[in-house]
C-alpha cells in the first residue's frame, strides 16, 4: 500500500556466511519495530522485505529483481562486496537506494559505477592505510607478515596493506599469504610466520580465522603482535580467542563503546534476542538510522532526494555522527585502532 | 597350407604365485570347431581372457590371421576393443549383458566395431550416418532372426529367461563379424532340452563357415560339436585330439571325466 515504506534487507541468511548476514536482519528488526512504534517515518510504517542471497551473485540478482517487483524503496545490505556488485545495477535501474553495512570493496564507491550505493563501513584502503601507519609509524615495526583469508574482504584489505607498506618504505613485507578459511589447523602457517621473522602479523579477514591464528600464535610461542581490520573488531573475537586475544590490535569505527547510541543498540539486541550481537551489527544499525533519517528529511524515496539528504544531513549513529560524501562513503566514521585489554577493545588514542 | 586363424604359442599367465597358464600352444584353423576342456580352475577362462586382451599374458605369442593383409597379426598389448576389431569375439562365463538395454540394442552394440560415425555424425545425421544406422538395425535384426530371439527384440535384456540370455550373448558376439567366435560355457545353467537346441544353433552357425573355440563342461555337447578337443589341467596341456581320442585318453579320464563318456 502507499502508506507503508518497504525496506529490503538482503544478505546471506543461510550457508557459510550466515553469521555475517543475520546480525543485519536483527538490527533492522529492532530499529523498525522502534520506528513503527513511534509512528513510523512521516506517518508511514516501515515494512521489511528480508531476502536471503547466500552471498551468491546469481541469487543476489534474482533477489534484486524480486525486491524491485515487490516494490522495495530502499535496501539495507549486500553483505559481501561480490554479490552486492552483481545486484547493484538492477537496483540502480529501478532507482533504489542501497546501503551496505559491510561491503568494503573500494570499487563500489570509487568506480562511480554505482551512484545508488552507500555504506557505513570504511573501504578496504582506508582501513589498510590506518593499520599500516599504526604498525610502522607508531609501533616502529620493520618486518610485517601480511596474511589474509583469500576472501573478497580480507584479500582486498591485505593487498592494500601490502601496497601501503611498500609505499611507506620504512618496513618490508616479509610474507604475503592467504589461509584457507574453515581449515582445521593453522599451525603450518604460524610456523611459517615465525620462520619469516615478522614482528607483526597484519591480517585481513574475519574474526573466526583471526581467533584461530592468534590462538595458534600463542600456542606455538610466536611472539609477534597481531593487527587486523574491522571484521575482527568484534566482541566474538575476544570471546572465542579468550586470553589469546589479549594484546591484539584491530581497527574499527572510532569511539563506539562510549557512544550512548552504540550501547543502546547492543542493549536492545540483548533484550530482544538474548545474546550479543554479531558481526557488522552496529554498521547495519547505523545504516538503518541513516536511511530512515534520509527518508524523513527528503519526504520521499526518490533516489536523488535521498542521496541529497544523505550527503547533507548528519545523523547520530552507533558508529559516530555521520553523513556521506558524494561517492557514498560515510564521513565521520572516524577510524581508530583498538587493542584488546582485559577482555575488551580499548581505543588507542 | 592355410594359415591357422588363431595361433597361440607358449602362452603363460601368472597371478601372483599362481601359474594359471603354463606354456600353452594352440591353433585354430578356419572353419573348425575346437573345444577347450579341463577341470575347474584349469585356466580355460584365463586363456580366453589373455587372448581377448582382458589380461596381459606373462609370456607367449598370440597371433590372429588377417585376411585382408594376408598375414598374422600379433594381439599382444592390444586392448580388448582392438582385439575385437581384429576379429575375435567372445561370450562370458558369467553372463554380461547390458541389462538395461533392449535385446536389439545389445546386438547393435556388437555392430559398434564395424561402424564409424561419431560425434559429428550424431549431430548432423548426414546421409552416411543414417545409412550406417539403418545398416546396424538391419544386420542386428537379421542376427536375432538367425538366433531365434526376434520375439524379445524390444524386451530389456535382464527380463529374458536365462537360456535366451545365453543366446543373446552369442548373438551379440556374432554381430561383431568375428573371424573366430569364443564361447565360454554357453550351455551352463541350461536344461538338457535347451542344450540340445543350443547344439543345433551352434551347428547352424558353424555351417556358415564360422570358426569356433568353445569352453564347455557338458560332454555331450562337446563330443557332438567339436572336431578337435584341447584338454588342459593346472594350466598345462594334457591332451589334444579328436573326440574319439579324448574320450579314451587315460589322462583325461583321470583328471576330468572320471569315466568314459558315451556320445
Amino acid at each position: 500500500a502507499a502508506d507503508t515504506l518497504k525496506m529490503g534487507v538482503v544478505g546471506p541468511h543461510s550457508g557459510d556466511l550466515a553469521s555475517y548476514g543475520l546480525p543485519s536482519v536483527n538490527a533492522a528488526k529492532i530499529l523498525v519495530e522502534q520506528i513503527n512504534a513511534a509512528g513510523g517515518i512521516n506517518g508511514k510504517q516501515i515494512e521489511l522485505l528480508i531476502e536471503d542471497t547466500v552471498c551468491d551473485a546469481k541469487t543476489a540478482t534474482d533477489v534484486a529483481t524480486k525486491l524491485v517487483s515487490d516494490g522495495a524503496q530502499f535496501v539495507l545490505g549486500g553483505i559481501c562486496s561480490g554479490s552486492t556488485k552483481a545486484a547493484l545495477p538492477i537496483y540502480l535501474d529501478a532507482g533504489i537506494l542501497v546501503m551496505s553495512p559491510s561491503a568494503t570493496n573500494p570499487g563500489l564507491t570509487q568506480s562511480g559505477d554505482y551512484p545508488n550505493f552507500f555504506r557505513t563501513i570504511a573501504p578496504d584502503d582506508a582501513q589498510a592505510q590506518l593499520d599500516v601507519d599504526f604498525a610502522i609509524d607508531k609501533m616502529g615495526y620493520k618486518k610485517i607478515a601480511v596474511v589474509h583469508d583469500k576472501g573478497d574482504y580480507g584479500k582486498g584489505f591485505a593487498e592494500f596493506a601490502k601496497m601501503f607498506i611498500e609505499k611507506n618504505g620504512n618496513a618490508e613485507v616479509v610474507l604475503f599469504e592467504g589461509v584457507t578459511p574453515g581449515a582445521v589447523d593453522y599451525s603450518a602457517i604460524v610456523q611459517k610466520i615465525k620462520q619469516s621473522g615478522a614482528e607483526t602479523v597484519m591480517f585481513g579477514g574475519y574474526h573466526p580465522e583471526a581467533s584461530k591464528i592468534v590462538t595458534m600464535m600463542k600456542k606455538k610461542r610466536l611472539d609477534a603482535s597481531f593487527i587486523s581490520d574491522d571484521g575482527v573488531k568484534d566482541i566474538t573475537f575476544i570471546k572465542v580467542a579468550g586470553e589469546f586475544a589479549e594484546g591484539a590490535y584491530a581497527s574499527g569505527p572510532m569511539d563506539t563503546s562510549s557512544n550512548p547510541l552504540s550501547k543502546a543498540a547492543v542493549e536492545a539486541h540483548k533484550k530482544e534476542f538474548g545474546s550479543d550481537p554479531g558481526a557488522f551489527y552496529e554498521n547495519a544499525y547505523s545504516a538503518v538510522l541513516a536511511m530512515a533519517n534520509a527518508v524523513k528529511v527528503a519526504g520521499s524515496t526518490d533516489l536523488e532526494a535521498l542521496k541529497k539528504a544523505l550527503q547533507t544531513e548528519k545523523v547520530d549513529t552507533p558508529v559516530g555522527t555521520i553523513s556521506f560524501d558524494e561517492r557514498g562513503d560515510a564521513i565521520g566514521v572516524g577510524f581508530s585502532v583498538y587493542q584488546v585489554q582485559n577482555g575488551t577493545f580499548v581505543e588507542l588514542k | 597350407m592355410a594359415q591357422p586363424i588363431l595361433h597361440v604359442t607358449g602362452l603363460t599367465m601368472d597371478f601372483g604365485g599362481i601359474r594359471a597358464l603354463n606354456n600353452i600352444d594352440l591353433d585354430v584353423n578356419e572353419g573348425e570347431i575346437v573345444a577347450l576342456i579341463g577341470p575347474n580352475g584349469a585356466g580355460k577362462t584365463t586363456f580366453f581372457n589373455c587372448v581377448t586382451g582382458i589380461y596381459q599374458p606373462t609370456k607367449g605369442e598370440i597371433n590372429v590371421y588377417n585376411k585382408h593383409k594376408g598375414r598374422q597379426i600379433s594381439l599382444l598389448g592390444m586392448k580388448p576393443n582392438q582385439v575385437t576389431q581384429q576379429g575375435l569375439a567372445r561370450t562370458f562365463q558369467n553372463i554380461r549383458l547390458f541389462s538395461q538395454m533392449t535385446v536389439l540394442e545389445n546386438v547393435m552394440i556388437g555392430r559398434h566395431c564395424r561402424t564409424k560415425s561419431f560425434i559429428i555424425g550424431a549431430l548432423l545425421r548426414d546421409k552416411r550416418t543414417l545409412r550406417e544406422e539403418e545398416e546396424i538395425i538391419q544386420k542386428s535384426h537379421q542376427i536375432l532372426e538367425k538366433i531365434g530371439l526376434t520375439r524379445y527384440e524390444n524386451e530389456f535384456a535382464k527380463n529374458l529367461p536365462y537360456g535366451a540370455q545365453r543366446r543373446l550373448e552369442i548373438a551379440r558376439a556374432l554381430a561383431t563379424e568375428p573371424v573366430l567366435l569364443l564361447l565360454d560355457e554357453p550351455a551352463a545353467g541350461m536344461n538338457p532340452q535347451e542344450t540340445i537346441e543350443l547344439v543345433s544353433l551352434i551347428q547352424e552357425i558353424a555351417a556358415e563357415g564360422q570358426s569356433i573355440l568353445l569352453i564347455e563342461h557338458d560332454m555331450k555337447l562337446v563330443m557332438s560339436l567339436s572336431e578337435r578337443i584341447f584338454v588342459m589341467d593346472y594350466g598345462k596341456r594334457i591332451a589334444e585330439g579328436t573326440p574319439e581320442e579324448i574320450r579314451h585318453d587315460p589322462a583325461v579320464i583321470k583328471a576330468y571325466l572320471g569315466e568314459e563318456v558315451d556320445a
Binding site: - | G38, N40, G189, M190, P192, Q193, H217, L257
Partner: protein, 235 residues
C-alpha cells in the same frame, strides 16, 4: 520338516511364485525341477526370507517362518547355497568358510568341520589364502557348497549346484550330497537344471512350471514320466 502352503512371492509387479504348496520330510532329498524362469530360485529365496512371502504360509517343523528375518531362519538351521554362488569376493577362501559358520557358537566343532570340508575339496585348502573372487567358476561352486556345510544345516537348500562344474566334480558333488544326507541326516532341497542327475539322487520331486507346481511324485515315477522325459531330460 518344511511345508509350503499356497506361497506367493515375486519382484515388483512380477509374481514369480504363484501359490505353490509342497512338503519336505525329515531326512529326505527332494528336488524341484523346471525350465528357466519357472520360479525355482525364487521359491528358495522365499523360504530363506530374502524375497518376502506375499501370501500363504511357510512352516518349519510346524512353526511359521514366513515373516521371520532371514538371519533368524538361518539360525533355525535352514541354509542355502544360492544360484550364482555368491562368494564374498574380497574375503579369502578361509574367511568365506568362517562366514559360513557365522552363527555357530561351538568353535571346536567348527574347526573339525573345516578340516572336513577341506578333505572334501582339497583344492580349496590349496587356495586357502586366495581371495574368493579370483577363484575359477568351479572352485567357487565348491567353496559355496563348503561354506553352507560349515553352518551344519538341518535343511540344506541347493540352487543348481552342478552349474559350471567339470563332470568329475559334479559326480563328486552329488556323492557329497548323498553323503551328508545319510551321514548327518541333513534334509536336502535340491533345485537342478540337470534333472537327470537330480532325480537319480532324490527321493521325490516336484515340477514347477510358470510359478505353479504341475507334477509331483517319487523320483522314480518322474523319471519314467514321458512328458518330463521330453521336456526336461532331453530324451
Amino acid at each position: 520338516m518344511l511345508k509350503l502352503e499356497k506361497v506367493q512371492s515375486g519382484y515388483g509387479n512380477i509374481l514369480a511364485v504363484k501359490g505353490i504348496s509342497l512338503e519336505v520330510n525329515d531326512g529326505e532329498i527332494i528336488t524341484l525341477i523346471g525350465a528357466n524362469g519357472a520360479g525355482k530360485s525364487t521359491t528358495l529365496l522365499t523360504i530363506s526370507g530374502i524375497v518376502p512371502c506375499r501370501s500363504g504360509r511357510i512352516l518349519l517343523k510346524g512353526e511359521e517362518i514366513q515373516s521371520l528375518e532371514s538371519d533368524a531362519i538361518v539360525k533355525k538351521g535352514v541354509v542355502q547355497v544360492p544360484e550364482g554362488r555368491h562368494i564374498f569376493p574380497q574375503l579369502s577362501v578361509q574367511e568365506n568358510l568362517d562366514m559360513g559358520a557365522f552363527m555357530r557358537t561351538d568353535p571346536r566343532k567348527v574347526k573339525d568341520d573345516l578340516d572336513y570340508v577341506y578333505s572334501l575339496f582339497p583344492i580349496l585348502k590349496e587356495r586357502r589364502h586366495q581371495d574368493g573372487g579370483t577363484l575359477s567358476g568351479g572352485e567357487q561352486q565348491m567353496l559355496a557348497m563348503s561354506r553352507a556345510l560349515m553352518a551344519r544345516p538341518q535343511l540344506l537348500l541347493l540352487d543348481e549346484p552342478s552349474m559350471g562344474l567339470a563332470p568329475l566334480i559334479i559326480k563328486q558333488i552329488f556323492e557329497i550330497i548323498q553323503k551328508i544326507n545319510q551321514e548327518s541326516n541333513t534334509t536336502i532341497f535340491l533345485v537342478e537344471q540337470n534333472a537327470n542327475l537330480a532325480l537319480q539322487v532324490a527321493n521325490r520331486g516336484y515340477v514347477l512350471e510358470n510359478g505353479k507346481i504341475t507334477i509331483s511324485g517319487s523320483a522314480k515315477s518322474l523319471l519314467e514320466n514321458q512328458d518330463i522325459r521330453k521336456a526336461y531330460l532331453g530324451l
